[in-house]
Amino acid sequence: MNIDKNLLSGSHTLLILSLIKEEEMYGYQMVVELANKSENAFQLKEGTLYPILHTLEKEKYVTSRMMEAENGRKRKYYKITDKGMKYLIKRTQEWEYFAKKVNLVVLGG
């Protein structure tokens, strides 16, 4: 399980989970959404998107279901779970704490 935990410990997980905390999305949709929201500052590395999503599902932080798109293609939509929500909150708090401390050192004091 070490490999999975390592995969989830980066900031990508935080980004992905907060993207889908309001609505369920499929992979490519997340990439587009993130580019829009961050004004292209964050380009989700698509090579790691799916390993992270599948690991999140394995750890039960998200669930998935197949839905048929307008063009006939089947798309896998991911939705955050209660466990995932708790995880997101925890990671967010960690991130906020981290950011605050960095600001203290770099900007203030």
């Binding site: 490999i3 999975d4 499929y26 992979g27 490519y28 590395k45 698509e46 090579g47 799916y50 390993p51 599948h54 690991t55 394995k58 293609r73 089947k74 798309r75 896998k76």
Partner: protein, 277 residues
């Protein structure tokens, strides 16, 4: 590793998706991942085309954005380990198989309720009724034996666990009569798919050491005969109570005989102590 890095080699999105998913061992997972990656590349290439790129160019760009297919493939393999999948499949199959097996076996033995009934330890009919005969004064016990004779026929293992022989004396119009009351337990061991061997019991005849013949016909009266009744029917064994009517008083043993449709057996039973020696 013999393979070169595939970044420059794969330009087709179908090929790319195939390479990125082929290391996953459990087939349904592999198929799902293939479809998901393909859909993503498809959408991305479409967006590029809508921006003006030519199809081939669009596909190449989409693939470049995704990265190395083999690298992704190996990561996917680590994530989608098959044992949970196989374990689940195995448990499902096992469950279905067990249900079918129980259903099949229970049909053979007359239903599940019956099966449970028969597995319960049953009281020995013989033991329960033994005392019945000791209470009558006119009965004199001649022999209470436990022979070791055995025979096998048609999937049944036969044995005679107990033999009881009494002399009964009674008076009719001032005349004294004496009769021999002789009975034994015939036990048959069998697989749960077989019923009690009623057919065998109905066709039992016998001769004794004096050459007297005992018929299988149920005619209570003066004709020497053998008559059996089923008393215990269990999953793996059955028991019959067999009576010999008009046993010759001087007989020392009686040999059961069965001959039917080419199958036969003989079983020698002592009627007095040491009679079968």
């Amino acid at each position: 590793m013999k393979e070169k890095r595939n970044e420059t080699n794969i330009t087709d999105i179908y090929h790319w998706s195939h390479e990125a998913s082929r290391y996953i061992r459990f087939k349904p997972d592999r198929e799902q991942v293939y479809q998901e990656l393909l859909a993503h590349l498809f959408d991305k290439a479409n967006d590029f085309e809508n921006d003006g790129m030519k199809r081939e160019e669009a596909m190449k760009s989409a693939i470049e954005a995704m990265g190395d297919a083999t690298e992704l493939g190996l990561m996917m393999r680590k994530i989608h380990r098959p044992y949970l999948g196989y374990l689940w499949r195995f448990t499902q199959l096992l469950l279905v198989f067990s249900i079918l097996l129980i259903f099949f076996v229970s049909k053979q033995v007359g239903g599940i309720g019956n099966m449970i009934e028969e597995l319960k330890p049953q009281k020995d009919y013989w033991e329960e009724n033994r005392d019945q005969y000791n209470n009558y004064n006119e009965y004199t016990l001649i022999a209470d034996l436990t022979p070791t004779c055995e025979a096998t026929i048609e999937g049944y293992q036969l044995s005679v666990p107990n033999v009881l022989h009494w002399k009964v004396e009674y008076e009719v119009e001032d005349k004294l009569y004496g009769d021999d009351v002789f009975k034994f337990i015939l036990k048959a061991k069998h697989s749960p798919f077989l019923d009690a061997p009623r057919g065998i019991i109905e066709r039992l005849t016998a001769i004794d050491n004096l050459g007297n013949f005992y018929t299988d016909v149920r005619r209570y009266g003066r004709e020497p005969s053998i008559v059996g009744n089923l008393t215990v029917e269990r999953l793996f064994s059955s028991q019959f109570e067999v009576w010999v009517n008009n046993l010759a008083p001087e007989a020392e043993w009686i040999e059961l005989q069965y001959d039917f449709l080419g199958r036969s057996f003989r079983l020698r039973i002592p009627t007095v102590e040491g009679g079968d020696l």
